[in-house]
Amino acid sequence: MENSRLLGDIADRTFDNGLKAICLKKPGAPVVSVQIWYKTGSVNEYDGIRGISHFFEHMMFRGSKNVGPEEHARRINDVGGHYNAFTAEDVTAYLNAVPREHLDMVLSLESDRMNDLVINEKVLETERKVIVEEFQTYMNNPLTKAFLEFRKEFFKGHAYEYSALGRLEDIRSVSVDDCMQYYRRWYAPDNALIVVVGDIDDCERVFEKIHGNFCRFPRSSAAFPEPSADPPERRTLRMRRDVDFDVPMCIVGYPAPPASDKDALPLEILQLVMSQGESSRMHRDIVRKRSLAVAAGGLNQSLKRAGMSLFFAVFTPNVPQSRVEEALVTHVESVGTGGITRTEMEKVKNTVLTNRVYELYSADHVCQKLAYAEAIEGDYRHWVRRLADLESLDIDALTAAATRHWNENARHTLYLKPKKVNPLLYAMGIVRRLAPKR
């Protein structure tokens, strides 16, 4: 199954009740990956229920009409499979993978909790404690805590302002009624996507099974309100956090367009040029040539309604933060005018192709990529066509995108400053910098 044949091998179906299914027969290991993505997440929350999407993700494992608490997980384990779930801004996803002969079991389990979840007070209270523990685990990591604060400011006033982690006070007050309301509103077939990838007989047969399991459920009785999501206000932000962490770090971020925007792919390509690998621009200059940082990198977080382009450098206490920030900013904000070379473009193409070839080894990976492209970018074909789209991109389009999005008027900076710096290490750093390079 090479990429060129991939699109022809994928089948999709939208059932009468609005449930969309995507299926790919992937011969090889006798396994099948089944994912259900509900198109709801923290973006659909409001004050008083911040964090309910994630809370609800936990409750989905706590039993339904025909499945006892945690029995979903145990049944998957009992056949050697694995499961997981995550909640993000736009989606809540449930991931299952089992030996192929257990596909029916997974569909039946997912079907039961799509329509017949059972939530009782006692279980809710126990799970609330678990979620508070999870929240505290994040907050006990100074890096995570600082980044979440930065992210909140970054999206201030936007539907993404609160992450899926929510607010502790809201988590402490979520009730059974809140959960059931949320469930009835968002967990409906016409707000869900099911993707099946693996060593199946054929997609038609899989669609029949999906129909048998899910199509007795009616469409949602109400429309799904679209949250207000005007682009984040273009402004600058500087934030400093003194953290109990010995490594200074500088993060520079810029608002990025939604994942379906025409600029999303150019920004993805440019991000690779800037920060991917030891031959990337930032590594070569900031880490190797000027020794300003120990590591430099970046990533684009592409979401349905907006995104973030992030660049970071980890450095030593003896290097002034301003020099590191300036180096990062100069690289990012000059690419729009300086452009990239054909060699860099060729490298990116080869990197993307290699990543794709290796992704195709795993049913889980392919399943997740298809689901993401459909739920977030609006069409699973975007992922399949990514390589062809890349071939047709011209370098001018890339630089124009950079100019539009990566500029000083939209720059957000986070500086993580260690609370304590060992003066001896600081002195050693100065000596090292003054010493001649070998």
């Binding site: 006798p30 523990e133 020794s291």
Partner: protein
């Protein structure tokens, strides 16, 4: 594979070159990719005392490329073709690998060969790598679970001198010089004792010629083959360390004791038992009782970490400071009951189904197959070990599992590491024995 009841490895071409290198070729045309992995039977246990980190630094130096190219030229050549290097370092093994497009193999494999056989070892790279590692060591302090892990080996081994008890620090990293890197390379990196798997989209006959040309002429004998680390002495009393970190609202725990080795005849029995106790996520007793039943934690699990001649059993979790006492009591109660009563036939049947069913995922794609072959070779096992794995698991009786539980999971004492706020946690730990309190930066 026959419906998950057995596994048959794909046909392999095997050859052992005169220089001792064992080569395994797996021809697989499912994807236009080639993966090469080279495993040596040496890992972080080979670090000299007080220069912990030597293996990691040396491997890092090798990844900067061969003598014939500058590090910049090397990374450019690799990345321009879309290729990427990877390593896997354990206590007793290390792996060098490279993923590449099949069409780039003719260009990339010779570079991989040069990196392995003629590393550049440039002085400027050493200071850069050490700086990266020191930063990494400091960065670990952000994560309480990582801090607990770092201290656990030392508490478990006490003054025995077992290598599990040694850790890389800023100080030990600072003492590593270019001479030590070269010594490590000369001592351990050699075709003799190494196993190389090349897997992917090629003709095996042609690839064999290529591999012979590239690696058959590699002439280098290891100066000193690694000596396996022996068993860790059993604990006779609780050994407790509190790592004081004032800003934490949660405490992270690791509790454990020495256990059996990977090649112990009861290894599979204990793996099945561990699945029931804490290795099976929501199917495990620890998770069912402490998370699902009591809501005291986000996660709790137990692990078996086994080397050739040693093994460690441990339980890791975290909870809010105010619940630490109950958490410890719950863990100890679950462990005690488990050790005394063992598991039921129903639990054993489920564990067997998990262990055999999950094998299909571990062997998904030729890259996983290659890595599994290396894992087998690490412990001197042949492919038939996995080909008869299901049969082997099916034949395990409840009595033999509970015998393993009785022998290995009834330790009278634990090594305990807690990372948390001293004022909250110290009195709780003191109920279990003498507590040594250290600062969170003490192992920097």
């Amino acid at each position: 594979m026959n419906d998950n009841t057995s596994y048959r490895f794909p046909p392999a071409v095997r050859e052992t070159f005169q220089n001792g290198l064992e080569l395994i070729l797996l021809e697989d045309h499912a994807r236009e990719a080639v993966t090469v992995v080279f495993q040596l039977p040496v890992g972080e246990f080979s670090d000299p005392v007080s220069r912990e980190g030597t293996t990691e630094v040396s491997v890092g130096m090798m990844l900067k490329g061969p003598q014939s190219l500058t590090p910049e030229e090397f990374s450019q050549e690799m990345e321009q073709a879309g290729a990427s290097l990877f390593t896997d370092m354990g206590d007793e093994h290390c792996v060098f690998g490279c993923k590449m497009l099949a069409r780039a193999a003719d260009r990339i494999l010779p570079l991989f060969r040069d990196m392995l056989c003629e590393p550049g070892f440039r002085p400027a790279e050493l200071s850069r790598i050490k700086r990266e590692m020191v930063t990494g060591l400091k960065a670990e302090l952000a994560d309480p679970a990582s801090i607990a892990n770092k201290h656990f080996g030392g508490v478990l081994c006490g003054a025995t001198g077992h290598p599990v008890g040694r850790v890389q620090t800023v100080h030990s990293t600072g003492k590593i010089g270019l001479r030590h890197v070269r010594e490590w390379y000369d001592s351990y990196v050699s075709p003799r004792g190494g196993v190389m798997v090349i897997a992917g989209d090629f003709s095996a006959g042609r690839m064999l010629d290529t591999a012979r040309e590239l690696f058959g002429s590699w002439r280098k004998e290891p100066a000193s083959p690694p000596v396996p680390a022996g068993p860790i002495p059993a604990l006779t009393a609780n050994r407790i360390r509190l790592v004081d970190k004032k800003d934490l609202t949660q405490v992270s725990f690791i509790l454990g004791h020495p256990c059996l080795s990977e090649i112990d005849p009861l290894r599979n029995e204990l793996a099945l038992a561990n699945y029931v106790l804490g290795g099976g996520n929501f199917s495990s007793r620890l998770m069912a009782y402490i998370r699902s039943g009591e809501g005291k934690t986000y996660g709790i699990s137990s692990q078996l970490a086994c080397g050739r001649e040693y093994g460690i059993f441990s339980i890791a979790t975290s909870t809010q400071n105010g619940q630490a006492r109950e958490m410890l009591a719950s863990i100890r109660e679950v462990y005690r009951t488990f050790g005394e009563k063992g598991i039921s036939q129903e639990e054993l049947d489920k564990a067997k189904r998990f262990v055999t069913g999950s094998m299909a995922f571990q062997l998904e794609g030729i890259v996983n197959v290659a890595e599994k072959i290396l894992w087998l070779r690490q412990f001197g096992r042949e492919s038939s070990y996995l080909e008869r794995f299901h049969e082997r698991i099916a034949s395990i009786s409840l009595e033999s599992v509970n015998d393993a539980v009785s022998r290995y999971l009834r330790s009278p004492a634990f090594a305990i590491v807690a990372v948390g706020r001293k004022e909250d946690i110290s009195p709780i730990l003191a109920e279990l024995g003498p507590v040594k309190t250290v600062d969170s930066r003490s192992l920097l």
